[in-house]
Amino acid sequence: MDDLAQFKQTFFAECEELLGDLEGHLMALQSGEGDNNTLNAVFRAIHSIKGGAGAFGFDRLVAFAHIFETVLDLMRDGRLEPTPDSVLLVLHCADILSDLVKAAQNGTELPADHENEGRKSLIDLAATVGVNADPHAADDELAALDAQLAAGGPDALMEAAAAPEPAAAPEPAAPAKAPMLKFLVKFTPRDALYQRANEPLILIRELKELGSFLAKADAEGVPPLDQIQPEGAYIKWEFEIETDKGEQAIRDVFEFVIDDCELEVTCLNPPAAAAEAPAQPAADAAAPKPEAVTPAAPKPATPAPAAAKADPHAAGDGATAKPAAAAKPEGGAGGETKAVRSIRVDLDRVDKLVNMVGELVITHAMIAQQTEHLHADQHPELANGLAELSHHIRDLQESVMAMRAQPVKSVFARLPRLVRELAMMTNKKIRLDMSGENTEIDKTVIEQLGDPLTHMIRNSCDHGIENPDDRVAVGKPPEGVIHVSADQRGGRIVIEITDDGRGINREKVMRKAIEKKLVAPDATLSNEEIDNLIFLPGFSTADTVSNISGRGVGMDVVRQNIQSLGGRVHIQSRPGQGSSFILTLPLTLAVLDGMVLKVGIQSYILPLANIVESLRPEPDQINIVANQSELLRIRGEYVPLVYLHRIFKVPGGIDDPTKALVIIVELEDSSKMGLVVDEIIGQQQVVIKSLEENFDPIRGVGAATILGNGRVSLILDVAGIKHIAENESQQRPSPQARLAAPALQASA
């Protein structure tokens, strides 16, 4: 069953791809940019999902996809006009389909009525042009059969395929031992048979396998040699077959040629029980078998239209009667075996390559540094060679990074649906605009971007955008707009989520923060600081519980997620006009933007993402509280000072903050800290090296890197530094110093 599991993986990976594309096509349709090609692509996507789902026995999925497909077929044929309403329905149904795919993938069961409404609407829509899209309708049995067969798996398929056709088969349905019967088969091929690459000799070979066999060729029709057409059919055949496999087996041999020949099958010694059943006319009986099989599944007695009530739940739900076969969730994408232009490479291999390139960058920097003293005009080849090497390495680095990069489109693709659902749930009108979907970013970042993005969108819909009435009342259009954009700016990716809603209610946020003891009651905070209180742990403005994934998760988790990716997030709000979440993310996780700091005889790297600002304070900005703790007052806020050389016990560090440099850093919990260092040497991109590969974790140090001179430099972890600072200050007799500070202290 390993193969089956693998097929399933491939199937779900493909579904995800198809659903992603689908979303794009549907958006195009909605905005009126779609044409017939778009409709075709939509149709194909549904069709492919249905095909695969059938193979795995996801019958509920098949049943819905079938109706969906029927309606889309009508649309692409032009029989149904894609009106705004019908496109909206299609969008809605694509969401349902996506749910069904997910349920199949996770082996979960959706509520029985999950797709009923959409299903009914589709059937109704098809009915407007006189088409019955209901697969349970009498004239459309194959889909039901497919579903039925698929539900039983391949075995059931085999059984059904081999079973004699109940209506047409003259022999008894299931005798323990089939009687040996003799048949006379008259077979006259027509020209068309040859034109479709069918071959009477193959048919004869197949017939021979059924039992004893006698063939007679009637060559009377063969014209004189000069009139023979190479593809002409001139020979008539008569076969006598004695077989216990029944008439249907004989007819099956002719399955593909039945319309290109004349075929008569007569039983020469019919058994008594079947004697009264007259042989059916060939054309009828030889119709491809599956259509003629009557599905054993009971048809729902009442199809949807009979449900007179408006309640959509009252609609017939025959399609949901059978539970979908549970699929074991499979992680990752299946290994596909395609002879195409792309190959699948283990991510580890790519990462190794990324690392190697990192080494190369460092090695190059070392060589360059060591040859600095040589005069370029004395060693022109060396200088040129180094310059060229540098160029190649940069190209190589970019190419390798590109291997890990993916367009953010894959994350953005789920947003339209999210917004639609949120709009529906909150009774708001919300339009989603997106731009920069092709901006590329590291795969790992992409993978972890989904949840935070979802939460921010949810926040914008829940708290940002107003009800249509409220909007109109303040002179805004009833439809709110959320704009999501991605952009690359200076080595980082910036994602902005902007809504045109009411903005942050600062009074309310402040009240809540004080209530939750996140802020001292007498604290004076800037507007921006108040806005960003929503990221504090324990702060959640979610008054309404929405049904979207991730309910109950606060914005603090969003910030944590983003920061764990080496990114930052903050919110900008304009009361009455809306808010923007602004996320900045590194292009890759292997490289970090850092500030090189000097402390005593040591230098360290501080991640740029942590830095708010740096300054050399004036003496009157420093307040000494309760003996020792020093607080830096900056724009009305008090920030505790932490001397890096004391924390790390580095000799020679500057002790006087007015002679040193204070770097204001921001921690994950939004608290701030003033890191006292000697000086800033410069900004640099560094390759992140694990310290823990050969050593144990060290508090205050996140990782290491290798500088151009070949020396190891440590990358600081501000949270760890804060932890050390707090532990050390606790040993001092002034524990209340921090509590007195009106900074945004969250729980330590």
Partner: protein, 121 residues
């Protein structure tokens, strides 16, 4: 001699399942994602049997069959269409384009091999 089957489908799942079933049956498999690729592959390889989907981007299965049948060297190659279509019309369309037979999706691997045997020498 190993027989070579050209499978043409835009669904990776379907291609993979076909490949699995066909390899079990001892066939060599060549894969294309649409009719145009199918034609190109047909040009470059000796193919014994063709299995093709109908609904595909770039070039659909019906056009693919019509096109390939135009070449004398392809006239005798059996072409099976993959279909989930519930109506007879797609099969009819396929047949009139020159398809030899059809396979109804979802298919059973054993049934698939049986059908191939039914059309190939």
């Amino acid at each position: 001699m190993t027989k070579r089957v050209l499978t043409v489908d835009d669904s990776k799942t379907m291609l993979q399942m076909l490949q699995f079933a066909l390899k079990q049956g001892g066939f060599e498999v060549i894969q294309g994602e649409n009719g145009q690729e199918g034609l190109d592959l047909l040009e470059a390889n000796d193919i014994d049997v063709i299995i093709t989907d109908i609904n595909m981007p770039v070039m659909d299965g019906i056009t693919f069959i019509k096109e390939l049948r135009k070449k004398p060297k392809n006239k005798a190659i059996p072409v099976l269409i993959l279909t989930t279509e519930s109506s007879q019309s797609k099969k009819e369309e396929g047949r009139s384009a020159g398809a030899t037979g059809w396979i109804v999706k979802p298919f059973d691997p054993g049934k698939l091999l049986e059908v191939i045997r039914k059309v190939s020498p």
